[in-house]
Assembly symmetry: C2
Homo-oligomer: 308 residues x 2
């Protein structure tokens, strides 16, 4: 059961050096979520051979163009491709205004329901929950309201012990995986503990888009398997980071260390960095298990950082 | 003195087959004008090595996303690159709303003046005029208000006759080129006709973006050197063209013939055409001097269709 993130864009506000603006695709047990949607995201999705029709939800962190300007084009393409499944969009309240105005002036009546949910910008606030995942908010700090998203996988079923599988009738397997004892046809009861092992622990992913350093996030991020955090600058530009309300690689790594996450992924690289390895070099001093987001690559979450 | 058009995007609403949505760059004597600006246009401009800061004016035909969704990103990049020269934007009144809302919600205060001029949607209405070009409107017919633009080069100076150049003092050359007689230091007057030849005739380019067939445009387009006209479909899909208010290749060619233009360029190809030569084959039956717009190519206007 997959839990993987594909980085569709790793650049900052000014597109350059072949880096696209922010966008990531999260695949949680074959349900697809898009986080941010900069200009050109639909092209990136096509390059990654993603069927646009399968994207269930979109999460927009904030209203800077490099994080949402690709959304109208994506919605338009979904419409033209005949989508009828509802699309759920989470983001700042202003995003609804921008979408509605543009649908209106283009005279577009979408073929599919588009549901919009404004974020509350409150760490821990529930965004959505279904059978596969629970999403909560992370209140970031930026020049405009910016919200991160924390994805926690729903608990997975217990694993059947190989040697005992044969005694469990097919109709009873689902219940046993969910923890029930087994009632055999002859009336005997087999305790669940003799049939199953604990499930693989649920995986988690945090998406911290544009933000200044927010140390109060550490408790919310405690122990997440993979933390994506922006790292627009190195410490030598800490002043510029403060002024623009972005983070340095050191700041991202310090948060990862304080929150004891499994792995840190850096992105949103300023166009001034031709070679982004300087950002990695800075971060690993504070948090060794750090990687750089690479354009178009897919990362399996919770597999000790093995790249897919 | 250049008069050239670069086709940055030749696709229709659904991006596909490596074709970008609509955008063209017009270079009139080194003044740059952008016509339409679909998603990804700034990337196409970079690929064409165009300095964004040099673009003086943008003309948006209509409010369908594939013609304007790249504009906010372009404006944002101009801002981030430190532009201070004013940008003039011509388009439907709704475009101003869309720009202003997005600047507001992103908290952006542009470093440069952005002047917006709503179109009147009246064929022949003056859009702008300066020392190099006069631009007038072409009222197209589409599902939303759609306006084409006709660019007529300002009259060019007369050409000095090579053999007589030596007798004209440097300070007087400009006046002679503009048609004045020459007063020599000894009091003699040399008539202009003995010094100059008629100038190269001014060149003209018409941009007819999304539209159903509009035969009434013929008098406005009479004799233009290059007519760009959309040709989304072939005649076999004339019903679909009518329904969506687009044109077939035959319809575009018929207008070119009726208007006696120099050359016709087709674009805005439906994503259903992998090979667009069927559109060319249809058009040349009605207007032989037809070419297909090719992604990223530059065409010199008025040079009997020689490609730059």
């Amino acid at each position: 059961m997959r839990f993987a993130v594909t980085t569709l864009g790793t650049g900052a506000a000014l597109p350059a050096r072949g880096r696209y603006p922010s966008a990531q695709l999260l695949n949680i047990r074959e349900r697809l979520f898009l986080m941010d949607c900069g200009e050109g995201t639909q092209e990136r999705l096509r390059m990654a051979q993603v069927n646009l029709g399968r994207i269930a939800r979109v999460f927009i962190s904030h209203m800077h163009g490099d994080h949402y300007l690709g959304l109208m084009g994506l919605i338009s393409s979904m419409h033209l491709l005949g989508r009828n499944m509802a699309l759920h969009v989470h983001g700042p309240a202003e995003l609804r205004e921008v979408i509605e105005l543009q649908l209106r002036v283009s005279g577009t009546y979408l073929r599919f329901p588009l549901h919009f949910y404004p974020v509350q910008h409150t760490s821990g606030a529930l965004v959505m929950k279904d059978d596969r995942v629970e999403v909560t908010e992370l209140a970031l700090k930026h020049r405009v309201q910016s919200t991160g998203f924390l994805f926690r996988e729903a608990p997975r079923p217990r694993k059947l012990i190989k040697e005992r599988v044969d005694i469990i009738p097919h109709y009873a397997r689902r219940a046993v995986k969910l923890g029930e004892d087994l009632l055999l046809p002859d009336g005997r009861i087999v305790p669940n503990a003799e049939l199953t092992e604990p499930p693989t622990p649920p995986r988690s992913y945090a998406y911290c888009s544009d933000t200044a350093q927010v140390p109060d996030l550490a408790p919310f991020l405690h122990g997440v398997d993979l933390l994506y955090h922006e790292a627009t600058f190195t410490e030598s530009l800490a002043g510029r980071a403060k002024e623009t309300m972005h983070s340095t690689a050191k700041q991202a790594a310090t948060l990862a260390r304080d929150a004891q996450v499994g792995q840190l992924m850096l992105g949103h690289f300023s166009s001034r960095y031709k070679d982004v390895s300087v950002l990695l070099a800075e971060a690993v001093e504070y948090f060794p298990n750090t990687i750089l987001a690479r354009e178009g690559d897919t990362y399996e979450v919770g597999e000790t950082g093995v790249q897919g």
